[in-house]
Amino acid sequence: MAKQRAAVLGTGQTHHRSKRTDVSMPGLLREAVDRAMVDADVGWSDIDAVVVGKAPDLFEGVMMPELFLADALGANGKPLLRVHTAGSVGGSTALVAASLVQSGVHRRVLTVAFEKQSESNAMWALSIRVPFTMPVGAGAGGYFAPHVRSYLRRSGAPEHVGAVVAAKDRRNGALNPHAHLRQSDITVDSVRASQMLWDPIRYDETCPSSDGACAMVIGDERAGDDSPAPAWIHATAMRTEPTTFAGRDQVNPQAGKDAATELWRQAGITDPLSQVDTAEIYVPFSWFEPMWLENLGFAADGEGWKLTEAGETALTGRLPVNPSGGVLSSNPIGASGMLRFSEAAKQVMGRAGDYQVDGARTALGHAYGGGSQYFSMWLVGAVKPT
């Protein structure tokens, strides 16, 4: 039997900041959860199950924190699942929640992803020295910068394109009341003048470290029909490959290409650039926008930067990418993927406020994690899939 239709009924997120010292972890999650439940117009008795996602437990120093969060998540007496697929976890978590509905098991599922990075220090947690290894690690920036250099060499992209992405996403973020960084005055020149941190990645081309959470309520077809503006789930895909192997393409990973191919196939999309109205893509460092445009099939190999340079990914362009400001404006790691998925949903629900893309009917939500090896994505639409 085919999978059941499912739709996003409501979304919610916290105000993201470097340190949300005004709340505990339960309080942080509830800020997002309460907003999602209001947005979906549901109460606790409507929720059948809860799916939680976040990145490594070492970030908060709590082993399987969903256990102690059960009270705050209204989960007592209900099913609770905890997903962890590295940086893609926010997306994977949404997909597990969707599966609970698509399999016909539940009618309405609450899903929430979070990170409270200020409890510790992500650079520390990601650079813990494991015995017998070289202490070369320099956090996520140090990991990804060499691959950005490879992209530059391979594509011949002009050096300023990364700054174009950063300036666009930060200005978009200024339109988003929940964004951590809201920099309406940022320019391509000011980005290029910022400090080179992990050459070729500059300070302003780097995601912030944020506390934050994101939540969604996902419902079945009947719940979607009853909702004034649901975001229908048209396609979902996840793919994984190893971190390293001989001959691995680290710039344009096969797992990402395979996931995108599967996504477009499910949705009957043959020309993504024409058929998708807006995309929320996981771009923690500016250059990943053109890299993922190619990986996702919006542009041919080596050509992604041309879309960016031409302004086609700006809010008024042909494919607005990260109208919410994206990961470059807010990065509560475990929630960052779910933010991409929920921002895509908000666009087709017509609830994106000042960064609403005019006439958005079909939107992509994308997340990746690990060493560019975990990919999760969904395509949502304003119209119920046939």
Binding site: D57, L67, S99, L100, T240
Partner: protein, 350 residues
Amino acid sequence: MTEVAVVAFAQAPNVRRTHGTTNGVEMLVPIFDEVYTRTGLSKADIGFWCSGSSDYLAGRAFSFISAVDAIGAFPPIHESHVEMDAAWALYEAWLKIRMGEVDTALVYGFGKSSAGDLRRVLSLQLDPYTVAPLWPDSVSIAALQARLGLESGRWTEKDLAEVAARSRRDATGNPRAQFGGETDVAALLDADPVADPLRRHDIAPVTDGAAVIVLASAERARDLADRPAVIGGIEHRIDTPSLGARDLTTSPSTRLAGEAVGTDGVEVAELHAPFTHQELIVRDELGLGDAVRINPSGGTLTGNPMFSAGLARIGEAAQRILDGEATRTLGHATSGPALQQNLVTVLERG
């Protein structure tokens, strides 16, 4: 919706300490081979992969990522991971088959508990504001639970020793068990408590291990196993983390999951109880009478591989059906302090 069946189960030997890495590859590679051989499947035939493991068990972030090396995950695979016992990974895989997205799935769990001080590591599961800063270890928490039952008359020390003796006796027939043997209840009760009121025999050992289960749609399962174990129901629930706010001698989450699944007619039950008294709680909440054979594998008390012990209970329960020894069995998994979270599945001959 599509019916789902277990078609193969394998587990690594339950041992106190392996020399392998915390990525589990040394334990996983041989048991993947075992289930491939048994089903005739190869990695390219697997539609979905899902695993359960813990970063805190390994002492570093992303330990599960290296485990995918054991799969040989290129070309890329459709894969997910839960930071839970792999019994919950099986639940996620069950969803994927049930919704028609794939028709086979391989589920695995692994953990090298010996890498750290397990009972101290597990204290990080407690409330990080008011409980974990005191470092109450998992054995002491269980001992508080055990005493409540002893003093309220729910069970006696002899009841607990009988659970241990039966487990050890049954483990002698399980070549993968960590230990086993004939023991005398009176002799067990002669031992001094190690975490009063718990004695050594009340506490599951520290175990390194791994387990794997292959699932298939019921239709596909007929080609892969002679007697597939069809999942008749699978449910899980959680209780409040507040230890002082609930009656620790009960497990409402187990009861709710059991009621949702329906446990009538179960012949064999594999219960994930790392402490003797917890077996009694689970058994009672599931309404399993004296006629039900409990933990013929020896159970968790003779091998407790963290993050795969729950999956292994489901595997053992399924194996009775795969072997033609039973027609309706039950697998149970638990997670969190003092039986906080519980999963129950009933398996049936197809």
